[in-house]
């Protein structure tokens, strides 16, 4: 128990901007925003050294609600923007936020490769098993039989995308699941994710009040993961296999080689030009 005295230089709410979220009252994304500000305050990160990068979607609106640097980019491309930013500016704390559609549908390829690359980024996916922003279509994490979208009137009919399993297979070094309805657990996971050196993937069950009102039942369905976080991928695979998708906590963490270009100048431009000369 961390009972040592810490001087919180900034309060959580000081990490918030003065822009009012457009989210529907009751949307899970509010809790993620709030937990994130608490985590940043807990970690005492100077606001200007933090950058929040997102794609497009309700969840991806998050950066503007924080008083840090932010980039609200294109649908599905947040991880790419963040990768470039981190490669060029390794000293920054770069957090990527988005939705299940943004991250697992259109952004799936960057997700795979960001896991493999294992840069020191934190990726928070607010998973509501739906495309909120575009009025409720099935996302990759939607159950095959969910038939409320007009685009898939018999349900998508396709196996659900399993974020943790994919992240593990792709090579992520930190995998966790939080829940918008468990704010302190979520705050803790965000802190751990940011503290982890390497690519931390945090799936947050974040109900969509408007298009998936039945998700209010998640409160009753979530439960903590059994046992300790896995420390290697075999254990992790077993945990994920036993997972019902509603277990919360840190699933897996392992120190794996982090990719980061090293900036060690060793020549001048003049020397380089000299090579071209005969």
């Amino acid at each position: 128990m961390a009972t040592e005295t810490r001087t919180h230089a900034l309060k959580a709410k000081e990490y918030k901007s003065d822009i009012a979220p457009v989210w529907c009252p009751g949307c899970g994304h509010f809790a993620v925003l709030s937990a994130l500000t608490k985590a940043l305050a807990y970690l005492e990160l100077p606001k200007e050294r933090v950058a929040l990068v997102s794609g497009i979607g309700c969840s991806s609106r998050l950066p503007a609600y924080l008083d840090t640097y932010g980039f609200h980019g294109l649908h599905g491309r947040a991880l790419a923007v963040a990768t470039g930013l981190k490669a060029a500016r390794p000293e920054l704390t770069v957090v990527v936020a988005g939705g299940d559609g943004d991250g697992f549908s259109i952004g799936g390829n960057h997700f795979l490769h960001a896991c493999r690359r294992n840069m020191d980024l934190t990726y928070i996916v607010m998973d509501n098993e739906v495309y909120g922003m575009t009025k409720g279509q099935a996302s990759p994490t939607t159950a095959p039989e969910w038939s409320r979208s007009k685009l898939t009137p018999h349900g998508p009919g396709v196996r659900r995308f399993r974020p943790a399993a994919i992240a593990l297979a792709a090579g992520a070094s930190f995998i966790a699941r939080g829940f918008a309805g468990d704010p302190s657990g979520l705050t803790r996971l965000i802190v751990q994710a940011i503290e982890h050196r390497g690519f931390s993937f945090l799936q947050v069950l974040s109900p969509c009040q408007t298009f998936r009102p039945e998700q209010t039942e998640w409160k009753q369905q979530v439960h903590p993961f059994d046992g300790e976080p896995a420390a290697n991928d075999l254990e992790a695979a077993a945990r994920i296999h036993a997972d019902d998708g509603m277990a919360l906590g840190l699933i897996y963490v392992e120190p794996l080689p982090v990719w980061q270009p090293l900036a060690q100048p060793s020549a001048s431009l003049a020397e380089i030009e000299q090579e071209l000369s005969l």
Binding site: A2, A20, P25, Y42, G57, M133, G181, P183, S184, R188
Partner: protein, 175 residues
């Protein structure tokens, strides 16, 4: 009342730290809700949440007054020893809807006050330190007053509990 999952609270500063967190959190959450309701054109409920935020603010001040002379421990957000499953007085963000009426908002607030009361009552019941128990009992009683007050307000409220009609306006898509 269930026995706490966490270790009991054993000192006055620790209790006060919890109380302060509880009230400031609840103020923040009510503020968020008020802002959100205002943005969603529900001024009645927005005003009510703003009022609740004001009360939490007052409570936080009074805890601060009590805490004078103590040095409060800094506790990580996840290390608070909340003893009821949902935690504390903070309203849940997902129990709201943009069409909710005052009556529903008051029910929500009452639910939160009850949780706060139960927290203090739990500390009073399970803390091994009599001094802590006593202060917690005092705080639980204050919370009980809030619960009762809210019950009175609810009784006076004309609005029904359910939203009257189905929401006919389709959601809109900003992106």
């Amino acid at each position: 009342m269930n026995a706490p999952d966490h270790e009991p609270i054993v000192s006055i500063p620790e209790l006060l730290a919890h109380a302060l967190e509880l009230e400031t959190e609840s103020r923040e959450r009510y503020r968020d809700l008020a802002q959100c309701m205002a943005l969603h054109n529900n001024p009645d409920v927005a005003a009510l949440f703003e009022q609740m935020a004001g009360y939490s603010e007052l409570h936080a001040r009074s805890v601060e007054v009590r805490a004078q002379g103590y040095s409060l421990p800094a506790i990580a957000p996840w290390d608070f020893k909340w003893n009821c499953p949902e935690g504390r007085e903070t309203p849940c963000l997902d129990d709201v809807h943009y069409l909710m009426n005052r009556r529903q908002a008051l029910e929500l607030a009452r639910h939160n006050e009850i949780r706060g009361r139960d927290f203090y009552a739990g500390v009073a019941a399970f803390s091994p330190e009599p001094e802590v128990s006593a202060l917690a009992r005092e705080m639980a009683d204050e919370e009980q007053e809030h619960v009762d007050l809210l019950a009175q307000w609810i009784a006076r409220e004309l609005a029904q509990l359910e939203v009257l009609l189905e929401d006919l306006d389709p959601p809109h898509i900003p992106e």
